[in-house]
């Protein structure tokens, strides 16, 4: 995967790493920190189609529930089974081993750059 600075972002605190027609999606370190310790991750089934802006999964911490939104229209190619088994990966390595889903897309919507996202969260 590319460096976080080269990835795209959403206002919902997701990062998107684009390789050809496949988008790998996770939540940002900022979001993981706000959530606290993640204890449960619910992801969509492989092969299901997802629509941009729709809830496709849940990330639960001891304190609260975060929703995972699909950043693009497409089909779920893969999900991170490791993060389902070991949800704390979302906290320990949100930009790496804590990735959540891979989606095959045909068209990219408008997404935030690293700089725009950083400005949004004030960091």
């Amino acid at each position: 995967m590319s460096e976080p600075t080269a990835r795209k972002y959403t206002k919902e605190h997701e990062w998107i790493d684009i390789e050809g027609s496949v988008a790998t999606v996770g939540i940002t370190a900022y979001a993981a920190d706000k959530l606290g310790d993640v204890v449960f991750v619910d992801l969509p089934t492989i092969g299901s189609s997802v629509a941009e802006g729709r809830v496709v999964g849940e990330i639960e911490s001891t304190k609260s529930v975060g929703e995972l939104f699909a950043p693009v229209n497409g089909t779920v190619l893969d999900i991170n089974e490791a993060v389902v088994a070991t949800p704390e990966l979302v906290n320990s390595d949100p930009f790496g081993e804590g990735w959540l889903i891979k989606v095959e897309f045909t068209e990219l919507p408008e997404l935030l750059t690293y700089e725009q996202y950083s400005a949004l969260v004030g960091e």
Partner: protein
């Protein structure tokens, strides 16, 4: 993911704020205060309190002093319990009731002298508790002082709390080892050995975690040095600073109610399992007595514990149903007030108000977890009880 931590009100900082920043805390707004929600991991902080010790900053809490020859009588009238029966040095969990019988706040009353009491109330209720105590006590020969701004509060909680506190340099507390649960004793703190500077402490064996532990009331300007001394002493024993997130899961496991969740103006103590806290046998009138004698209306919901399998926890506001397919109206039996995946037990736990008919232990209910009805069983509170040797 949405974030709603924006606020326009100026936030108050704890006297320990610099300590929290240095320890890398994340902050949350709590009753107008910027308080640490966690330092690194709320799960790690939770487990540290269960297995070793944690230190909490509770300086936002309200401390109100009642002073004067009729202060005990005044508190018998102002509060639900028989405060005049509390011995010097003893503490008592009590309730400030409204005239209609609902709960204005839950609090701890410490008798620190024949004619002196310290009332410790929730930060969010500071103004109303101070105002109500002032009004109710005005009928008696005593005075009410809101000393919240002049008192900091540090809690050391966990099985190693005594071992650590007894070794903090400069802390002198006579009889700490024999201090019983819900008793307090005065002590002193000398931050610098050999110097004359000495601060008074009130040390109480109380807490809100379900573990053994102590709460230390101290002047705000001495609090940072006391915090540092506790941290240094406990570091080798597994003591960590613990934030409000872990405090919430700890108190939930221990079945302790939280104002605004399990307790409120529309809740009668008996509904919350706190009927024993209202002393109807004490002589004389007290605010809320008449309503308490009448009791909660028929059919009023009752606070229960719910446990379920898996990892998906019911949370505050989630509805509880009688069956997996019962209708939204006729099948609804209650609502969750607090819930989490229990860090100690490993399964979801929740407190909920449910109809009396659904409140018996073992009743099988269903929590609507964001559209999915998850089976849950009614259990007696608390969910977690520490093992005691004595």
């Amino acid at each position: 993911m949405t974030d709603s931590s924006e606020s326009n009100t100026p936030e108050r900082l704890s006297p320990l704020h610099a300590q929290h920043v240095a320890a890398g805390a994340s902050f949350t707004d709590f009753a107008g205060w910027q308080m640490p929600v966690r330092y690194s991991s709320d799960l790690a902080e939770h487990h540290a309190v269960r297995t070793a010790a944690g230190v909490f900053d509770l300086s936002h809490m309200a401390e109100i002093v009642i002073l004067g020859p009729e202060s005990a009588d005044a508190l018998d009238y102002a509060l639900a319990g028989k405060i005049s029966a509390v011995a010097i040095g003893q503490a008592k969990y009590s309730l400030l009731l409204g005239r209609e019988g609902g709960i204005v706040d839950d609090l701890v009353a410490y008798r620190t002298g024949e004619d002196r009491f310290l009332i410790v109330a929730n930060a969010s209720n500071r103004a109303v508790v101070a105002e109500q105590l002032l009004e109710r006590c005005s009928l008696f020969d005593c005075q009410v002082f809101d000393e919240s701004d002049d008192i900091a509060l540090i809690a050391v909680q966990g099985p190693k709390a005594y071992e650590i506190l007894s070794q903090v340099p400069g802390v002198q507390v006579d009889g700490l080892a024999d201090l019983k649960y819900y008793w307090s004793t005065p002590g002193t703190f000398k931050p610098v050995p050999g110097e004359r500077e000495t601060h008074e402490l009130l040390v109480a064996r109380t807490g809100y975690t379900g573990e053994d532990g102590f709460e230390l009331y101290v002047a705000p300007d001495a609090a940072p040095l006391l915090w540092d001394a506790i941290m240094e002493t406990g570091a080798g024993s597994g003591l960590v600073p613990a934030g409000l997130a872990s405090r919430d899961t700890l108190r939930l496991e221990a079945g302790m109610p939280l104002y605004g969740h399990e307790l409120g103006l529309d809740t009668f103590p008996a509904q919350a399992g706190l009927g024993r806290v209202v002393n109807l046998k004490k002589e004389g009138d007290f605010v809320g007595r008449e309503a308490a004698e009448t009791g909660a209306p028929d059919g009023a919901p009752i606070l229960v514990g719910l446990v379920s399998e898996g990892k998906r926890a019911g949370r505050a506001g989630y509805e509880v149903y009688s069956s997996p397919d019962a209708g939204l109206v006729e099948g609804r039996v209650g609502v969750i007030t607090s819930g989490a995946l229990s860090p100690t037990l490993g399964y979801p736990i929740a407190m909920a108000y449910v109809d009396a008919a659904s409140a018996s232990d073992g009743a099988e209910l269903f929590i609507d977890v964001r559209g999915t009805r998850v089976p849950a069983s009614v259990v007696a509170l608390p969910f977690y009880k520490r093992e005691t040797n004595s």
